[in-house]
Homo-oligomer: 369 residues x 2
Amino acid sequence: MAASAIERVAIIGAGNGGCAAAADLVKSGFDVRLYGRSPSTIEPLVARGGVEYEGVLGEGFAPISVITNDASEAMRDAHAVLVMGPTHAHVSMAETVARHLKPGQIFFAAPGHTLTLLPNTLRDGGHEKPVTCESATLPYICRKLTPIRVKISRKAAKLKFAAFPATRTRELAERLLPLFPAISPVASLLDTVFPYTNAIHHPPALLCNIGRVEATGGDYCHYYEGITPSVGRIIDALDAERVAIASAFGCVVDKLSDYFFQIGYTNEEGRDGGNAYSVFHNSEPNRWIKAPPSIDYRFFNEDIPFGLVPLTELARLAGVQTPASDAVILLASIATGKSYRDGGLTSARMRIDGMDIAAVKTLLEHGYE
Amino acid sequence: MAASAIERVAIIGAGNGGCAAAADLVKSGFDVRLYGRSPSTIEPLVARGGVEYEGVLGEGFAPISVITNDASEAMRDAHAVLVMGPTHAHVSMAETVARHLKPGQIFFAAPGHTLTLLPNTLRDGGHEKPVTCESATLPYICRKLTPIRVKISRKAAKLKFAAFPATRTRELAERLLPLFPAISPVASLLDTVFPYTNAIHHPPALLCNIGRVEATGGDYCHYYEGITPSVGRIIDALDAERVAIASAFGCVVDKLSDYFFQIGYTNEEGRDGGNAYSVFHNSEPNRWIKAPPSIDYRFFNEDIPFGLVPLTELARLAGVQTPASDAVILLASIATGKSYRDGGLTSARMRIDGMDIAAVKTLLEHGYE
């Protein structure tokens, strides 16, 4: 393999995921440059000269050679550029990256699951034949405790990984494996889109508790008290739609109960119940998590436009009906006064409208080459 | 007018409305016969020999000459038969009545708003040219405090009243006016269907609090704490659909905020806010009403299949879109596992499927004559 080994890494995004990756990769011996858009995020890290960490990596301090809100400085001689931020920030992050990305630099996003949004944004930024790769989820379960300290409570055991075009998946997986040993190649970006389950359970659980969130300011446990048996049935309906859409595209995904058991989010009783209520009622890691203080929250704002909406748009393209998902999208949009479909990741925005399944697969396999 | 004055009245249903009407009509000098299907409802009233009452009629005891679970006995020589029970019991009540109804007996339902369901049930029971009449709401706000005691907290100031066929409305209104002085004739049964607002606010308010109802057993105030600003926006969306459907049929209905002010359910501030949240947050009569103990409750079980479903079915017939109402029906059906549309008052069950607006109006105007 001719490509040089990755030594220098630019991390785009200095939030939870970006800081966790910075700590992990510094610890693994990589030369990390950390970019954050907002000076208020960056300044405390600059003052400290790196990031403090605790959790499964142990407790310590990771010095970072470059911490900046100048993307060109972070990316200048990096071998890989890692976009680590919420999916609703993908366009603006990719626009920033596009201005400085050089041939040969690897573009990796975690979490991905915005299908062709990233390659298209790079294309709009002047990269005719964009190459991107992504993992379905963030490589860490992590949370910043302070502006300079991140708690990493788990490293993902398996990172579903695909490239655009898919012909590049194997090569890029091999090059990124030293950074993220959990990388596990899948057939195409569809296989990083469909496993995303937050879109399936966050929106209906919040919808069925709108009155409670607004009356109490979220003073109850979201998963344990908020997902009751009947709320669970709505989540199950959305999950069945997700599995059916994936199946129409020839992708096999685990149903929620199996998936949550695999990633350690529920126990055997939760899995064997086979429904969302049993999954969440037996989810020890989620048990004490409080509900959001208002419905102006990522459970709607991110998981609907960049989670449920693209699922239903792919469903339309495949001729699969998604009445339950459509109903949740509509009622949440009415409740918040935000049109989540218009503002979300539609087929038009993914630039796959008018395509059939075969055309989408061809695009994902071969890209714009 | 040739018809004799009403002296003897059979009341079909010995629940809240039936007992309130019995007390009121006995007090007004009518000879009342009270029918209840269930022996356990009837027996305590038989033992007492009538019904105790309190509230706006004062406090007292109304002796009732006949209290029975034999409908033929109750109806034998009655001038008018008053069906007073929930809309989801209309078919079984009308089937019972049909077996004993004689030519010349007035058939009146309160509340009505099941369109052609009652005349069709009478027709199935052998009455070729059925005549029915109804008011949009119950004539009383009332609640049985014990099996023999009813509290009447308000008499309706205005009872929208229509007959089937509408050509009979004026005559029947005049004959029933001594019983219910609030009767106010409207053009047709459509004008008793569209003003029904429980279907607009009960289902979405419960849907947006499913988790809370199931986690707390309904330990919060349904209207005051359950209808928060965002829940109110969903109610507003359903209300706008209701007004649009009515308009397509040429009926003018007040929007929820105006209507609730007119009937004394909200104050000027509530009305002037112009939205469901302001209406309910300023509704003194509703302020302390607790939420239901479970979602297996009339807010879904009655108001969806016999309230929202017929509205959306009329909308389809008129070519009006009702996405918000459809979404609420679907998600509530998933949550409870009951198919409220299949079990509800569909166009097929109203026997108006395939008709256009003009055909429906002709049927309502002239009936099966």
